[in-house]
């Protein structure tokens, strides 16, 4: 009996991959709490992350040639049932999230132990897994309302993760509270938007929505729904004027949390924005084209410059990185706003490249914080001599952030410039280059402090532990590798962009 059951599961396991990728960390989270032992929490979380990583790598291979996987939750056929839908775009996002989590988890051991009290360590891993599975769920689902539920699972756990920074700085609490208020407003806007879309179309399945929206050009309820969705997700993306929650959240959260959020949370929100703008609503949708050109594009450019400019004047390394994130999100939005396949490819590839770049840099800051006790530039003086390995990775990350040839950041900016030139907007290409020059300034300020100043007397004069160095260098090596071997990421991003740009995919189910 038992063997029969096992066999049955083993046979159909590959069919269940789309749901497994979410379920593994989602079930591991309560397990970590129930076991409640700090020593077991980390291995469990790590195994769950590896599990998700393996599954999403499998998924990406399966959809690599343009296939679309459709998984019916509980056997209920869409559009009535909830559908998990994996295509090249979200398989790529799934892989990014799970890869970052897998590399980051070993790093959290030393970092979290230093920044959190002993009794919270197991709970930290439970929250981390919840946030992780929420983000994966957002990426994998093909149901607009289900997306909201996953968005809230990840957001609620993120608020707590940020508030955990209160053991170092009490401002983490007010930051988490502000993020909670703004995040909830954003999520509620999204629900209102989905409500309007449901009112006009009577469906929540994304593929089904796309079909019906295409038939209902000019419906004002749908226009309102679109506006609400874009603003709601825009808050999560941190589009320039809606970015107010981001700088403090990244600054005061525990270092490992900052690295995880900066690399994944906003990226997933950008993916949702792309999904709605190119799959659910089509680029041909006239109302959307106007919004993209008149609102998203100017705000993206404004964000590029404002974020970089403010980053220059920070005296805290972490806060500088946070503002630079706002600028980098501007590049992704610019790619979306250009409304071409090349632009979308640039956005997707920058999503990946920026994720690894920012993960490297935030992890480096975490290592500095571990040894010097703070992330102010004053704390980091001369760390280049004390922690040569960590600081070398910081330089690699910084170069990738600027977009120097040979690093990942260069590839995405190159394609972005190409996309701008392709659409005849040479001035946008110039602006991309100009804002990169601002990045040179803020990265140089960091390098100057770390390498050219003498170290302070009261710092711990040791290199970071190996559990931190290895993840940092895996990420830093990825920054270089994907800057040289571009065909892997480029073909994945192109396939994803093609998939998104192809418009609505037919519902895979026979009606």
């Amino acid at each position: 009996m038992a063997t029969e059951g096992v066999q049955h599961v083993a046979l159909s396991l590959t069919d269940h991959l789309p749901v497994l990728v979410v379920l593994i960390p989602f079930l591991a989270a309560p397990l970590v709490v129930l076991i409640g032992r700090n020593r077991l929490a980390w291995p469990l979380a790590f195994i769950a992350a590896i599990g998700s990583f393996v599954v999403s790598a499998q998924l990406l291979m399966q959809v690599g040639d343009g296939d679309v996987l459709s998984y019916h939750l509980g056997g209920w056929a869409p559009p009535l049932g909830i559908e998990y839908r994996v295509d090249a775009a979200n398989a790529f996002v799934l892989l990014i999230i799970s890869a970052i989590a897998t590399v980051l988890l070993p790093y959290t051991r030393a970092s979290i132990r230093a920044e959190l009290p002993e009794r919270h360590i197991a709970l930290f891993y439970a929250l981390f897994l919840l946030a992780f599975s929420g983000l994966l769920g957002v990426a994998v689902t093909g149901d607009a309302f289900n997306l909201f539920v996953f968005l809230e699972i990840s957001s609620l756990s993120t608020y707590v993760l940020i508030a955990l920074g209160a053991y170092k700085d009490k401002r983490a609490l007010t930051t988490a509270f502000n993020y909670l208020v703004m995040g909830t407003i954003g999520a509620t806007f999204y629900v209102i938007g989905i409500g309007f879309l449901y009112m006009a179309t009577g469906t929540l399945n994304m593929a089904d929505l796309a079909e019906r929206i295409a038939d209902a050009q000019g419906n004002r309820t749908i226009h309102a729904g679109f506006a609400f969705v874009v603003v709601g997700i825009g808050l999560k993306v941190a589009i320039y004027p809606l970015h107010l929650w981001l700088p403090n959240a990244y600054t005061y959260a525990p270092s490992a949390v900052s690295a995880f959020l900066a690399a994944t949370a906003t990226k997933v929100a950008v993916y949702v924005l792309m999904r709605f703008m190119f799959s659910v609503f089509q680029p041909g949708y006239t109302y959307e084209a106007a919004i993209l050109h008149l609102i998203i594009l100017p705000l993206a450019i404004l964000g590029m410059f404002a974020g970089s400019f403010i980053a220059i004047f920070q005296n805290d390394f972490k806060k500088m990185l946070a503002y630079s994130s706002i600028a980098q999100i501007g590049y992704m939005l610019l790619g979306i706003g250009l409304l071409s396949e090349t632009g979308l490819t640039a956005a997707i590839i920058h999503l990946f490249n920026h994720a690894i770049t920012k993960a490297t840099l935030f992890m480096v800051v975490g290592a500095y914080v571990l040894r010097s006790g703070g992330s102010f530039y004053a704390n980091l003086e001369g760390m280049g001599r004390i922690m040569p390995w960590t600081s070398a990775a910081a330089v690699v990350g910084g170069l990738s952030l600027i977009g120097v040839p040979g690093t990942a950041g260069f590839i995405s900016k190159w394609i972005l410039v190409q996309a701008a030139l392709e659409s005849g907007a040479w001035w946008i290409a110039l602006l991309v280059v100009a804002s990169s020059l601002l990045a040179v300034i803020y990265v140089w300020r960091g390098v100057e402090v770390v390498f050219l100043k003498p170290p302070q007397d009261d710092v711990d004069r040791r290199e970071a532990p190996l559990t931190m160095i290895v993840p940092i260098w895996i990420m830093a090596a990825a920054c270089v590798y994907f800057g040289l071997a571009t065909d892997v990421t480029l073909s994945a991003a192109q396939a994803a962009a093609e998939g998104l740009f192809a418009g609505p995919l037919p519902l895979t189910v026979e009606h």
Binding site: A166, T174, Y198, N315, F376
Partner: protein, 144 residues
């Protein structure tokens, strides 16, 4: 503007109230300095969405979408749309979780700051930031 007739306005009463409730909630979140009041506003804002969904699920003349116990379904009976109700059940759970977490954060904020007024908290944070700039700003040639 001839569609704004009296029957139209009265017929959409739910939606007017939804808009009113939603804007009231949003206004409280923005305008009130007390953190608990902000959470109350946020709650109103979220609850207004429940009203929107429930309203759109209503089918004129429809009854509760429950089949009779003997499963003898009368084809003449009109049922309301149950799907929005189900969605809102989920949204209620999310709302409760958000409120609970918000209130828990307020408790922690009060422990650390000894106040839950936004203005006072900002003053404390500004002082802290000024101190930091004085202490750490010199490195960058900034300082005061």
């Amino acid at each position: 503007m001839d569609q704004f007739t009296l029957p139209f306005i009265i017929g959409h009463l739910n939606y007017w109230l939804f808009t009113l409730l939603m804007m009231t909630g949003l206004y409280i979140v923005v305008a009130k300095g007390n953190l608990v009041k902000k959470i109350v506003g946020l709650n109103m804002f979220q609850t207004s969405v429940f009203m929107l969904y429930i309203s759109m699920g209503k089918v004129t003349g429809g009854t509760a979408p429950i089949f009779p116990i003997d499963m003898q379904i009368d084809p003449d009976v009109v049922y309301s749309n149950p799907l929005p109700h189900v969605l809102i059940l989920t949204a209620i759970v999310v709302g409760i979780a958000t409120t609970a977490l918000g209130l828990a954060l307020i408790v922690r904020i009060r422990e650390e700051y000894h106040t839950i007024e936004e203005g006072l908290i900002q003053k404390i944070e500004l002082e802290k930031a000024t101190r930091e700039i004085r202490e750490f700003g010199e490195v960058m040639g900034g300082g005061e």
